[in-house]
């Protein structure tokens, strides 16, 4: 029976030869990821429900990254990190990445990739909606809540309904003024925030496979913004090279059959697309930058699992080089590895860190930071009637802090061009 890549992975994980969309199945989980916001309640449910017999099904498969509320004086937030630390010590967990030292990694989705947990063909479940990011490596990855995670912690299993798949093909060559963010915002405008609910979003085409790993993760990352259960890009040689550098664990490369069944197929010509933003207050409220250019902004933000990767800062630096920002501009590298690399990689003799710093950006330590508002002392948090342009993923009311604020989501190129002018700006007008 012909199957999509998602169906093939789910068939393998449920011990079947084949699965069909709509079937309810139990999956064996290969990796469970949690963080400081959802980890403590997950652990509590696991203790309460399994009682004295509570046993972690497989310590090697449990990965914990504190990343959300790290650089804050909020006592409750700090207590949550302490709970994780204590749990990791008590159970001698091999994959706990504590705050405050060399092991601290930053945003979980990027750290999962960097630490080699994103193995093609596996099932990765995380207590965070953007867990779908990992699908860029040709694996099934999706977000769940605390109860589902607690159940996995004790049993290694989760129930899922096999999703129908939607396919998004980007043909041709991507112009240099576009990034993967423009691709996914384009899709969101077309299918809306519930256009992929309970479905898999599969990305394909030359312009997708031309993207580096960072950029592929931008596509799969925002699958959940369309309601998608997972986003997925079949592994290619570039994926395998990335994973082989970071993991010696086995993996399986699956690809969709040519005659597999899809709910729908969307085709785009990359060269015909334009830089776009998502206007307030929804990620699907798309407009071409040309339509909203000139709108005054009060803040710019480059960070998060969506837009705080090395490729995002390389893009921003192209525009910010030898220029100065006109509004407060926050740079939050998603991971500590990205933060280090910013100080190593050079453009015309200057490190990217130096370029961003010389442009007047505030460079903050790695964490989720103001992408989701966070405690009141979070750096970059929106206040009052801020108008923010951001490389992050959501702009629902209050997402970045203030309920009165307006957030425009855009590519790092568009955010950098806008920061330089103090108004929303098409990157084509800022690129030499």
């Amino acid at each position: 029976m012909p199957m999509t890549i998602t169906e093939k992975i789910l068939a393998k994980a449920s011990g079947r030869d084949a699965v069909k969309p709509g079937e309810n199945i139990w999956l064996n989980v290969d990796t469970l990821m949690t963080h400081d916001v959802c980890g403590p309640p997950t652990i509590q449910i696991w203790k309460d429900e399994f009682g004295g017999q509570a046993k972690i099904w497989d310590k090697q498969k449990l990965v914990i990254f504190p990343d959300h509320y790290i650089f804050t004086n909020d006592p409750h937030a700090n207590r949550n990190v302490s709970i994780l630390r204590q749990f990791a010590q008590e159970h001698q967990l091999p994959n706990y990445y504590d705050v405050g030292g060399e092991r601290y990694k930053g945003v979980c989705h990027i750290a999962l990739a960097e630490e080699g947990f994103n193995r093609p063909g596996t099932v990765l479940i995380g207590t965070d909606s953007h867990t779908c990011t990992a699908g860029a490596f040709g694996l099934f990855a999706t977000g769940v809540g605390n109860t589902d995670a607690a159940f996995i912690l004790g049993t290694g299993k989760i129930w899922e309904k096999v999703p129908e798949s939607m396919k998004f093909i980007f043909e041709g060559e991507k112009p240099e003024y576009l990034t993967a963010k423009d691709f996914i915002l384009q899709i969101l405008g077309d299918i809306t925030t519930d256009g992929a609910t309970y479905r898999a979003m599969e990305f394909d085409g030359r312009a997708v496979y031309d993207l580096n790993i960072d950029e592929r993760m931008t596509l799969t990352n925002m699958a959940v913004e369309a309601g998608g259960m997972n986003g997925i890009i079949a592994a290619d040689a570039r994926t395998e090279a990335y994973i082989n550098e970071r993991s010696s664990q086995p993996y399986t490369v699956f690809k969709s059959d040519a005659d597999a069944g899809y709910h729908s197929v969307y085709e785009y010509k990359a060269s015909e697309l334009e830089p776009v933003v998502a206007q307030p207050h929804s990620p699907d409220n798309r407009a071409v930058v040309r339509k909203v250019q000139g709108r005054k902004i009060t803040k710019a933000y480059i960070g998060s699992c969506t837009g705080g990767k090395m490729a995002d800062f390389v893009a921003a630096a192209r525009i910010l080089k030898d220029r100065e920002v006109k509004v407060p501009t926050f740079v939050v590298p998603a991971s500590t590895a990205v933060a280090r690399q910013l100080k190593e990689d050079k453009v015309n003799g200057k490190t990217i860190h130096q370029i961003l710093s010389d442009a007047g950006c505030v460079i903050a330590p790695s964490s989720c930071a103001a992408c989701l508002g966070g405690p009141a002392d979070t750096i970059g948090r929106s206040v009052d009637k801020d108008v923010v342009i951001s490389t992050t993923n959501r702009n629902f009311p209050g997402r970045m802090g203030s309920k009165q604020a307006e957030v425009y989501l855009a590519s790092p190129l568009t955010v950098a061009a806008s920061a330089v002018n103090g108004v929303i700006t098409d990157p084509r007008d800022a690129m030499g």
Partner: protein, 187 residues
């Protein structure tokens, strides 16, 4: 589980995301400590912009100042209810505020799973556009046996969609209860 649920309706629109249900700054409180977890009730739906809080007029506080529970136990939503983050704190906050049932045109997957698997509230779907048919404050009766919602304020009745394969989990009161009944886990 309770099959007949009576309560007052609190009406919301489309795309009520988890930041509106419980803003991220509040996710730091313990969900298990009885005193601290009351804060989730206190701040439930506090992220909904004022003009969209309690339709059709808006400006209706879900919870009045100083209280931990709402007078509204039935939430009426539009499409894509619970979109956004994976925080299980969202259906938990609604439960702490005293909500029993949400009726919406559609749900985001993770919110729906969390509501069902955690046994916090019963998420029901309807093909009817209740967000405009009902008003905040309407007296509602929901009958889970007949899958009917009645607006006791005017006698109108609306049809609810059968929950399908997840009904056994809803009836058991959550994933763990279901798994014990099914013999998947001990205890």
């Amino acid at each position: 589980m309770q099959k007949i649920i009576n309560g007052k309706a609190y009406v919301l629109g489309d795309n009520i995301d988890t930041d509106q249900i419980i803003p991220a700054e509040h996710l730091v409180y313990s969900l298990s400590d009885p005193q601290e977890s009351k804060k989730y009730g206190q701040f439930a739906l506090s992220g909904v912009p004022r003009e969209r809080a309690g339709l059709p007029d808006g400006g209706v506080p879900f919870i009045t100042d100083g209280n931990y529970e709402s007078e509204y136990s039935i939430i009426i939503g539009g499409s894509n209810f619970g979109c956004g983050s994976s925080r299980e704190h969202a259906p938990f906050a609604l439960q702490k505020a005293g909500v029993k049932v949400v009726v919406a045109e559609s749900y985001a997957r993770i919110f729906y799973r969390n509501a069902v698997d955690g046994g916090f509230i019963v998420p029901l779907e309807t093909t009817e556009i209740l967000k405009t048919a009902l008003k905040t404050g309407d007296a509602i009766e929901i009958n889970l046996n007949t899958l009917k919602l009645t607006n006791q304020s005017d006698g109108q009745t609306y049809t609810l969609v059968h929950p399908g394969d997840v009904l056994p989990i809803i009836e058991a009161g959550g994933l763990f209860q279901y798994a014990r009944k099914a013999g998947m886990i001990e205890g």
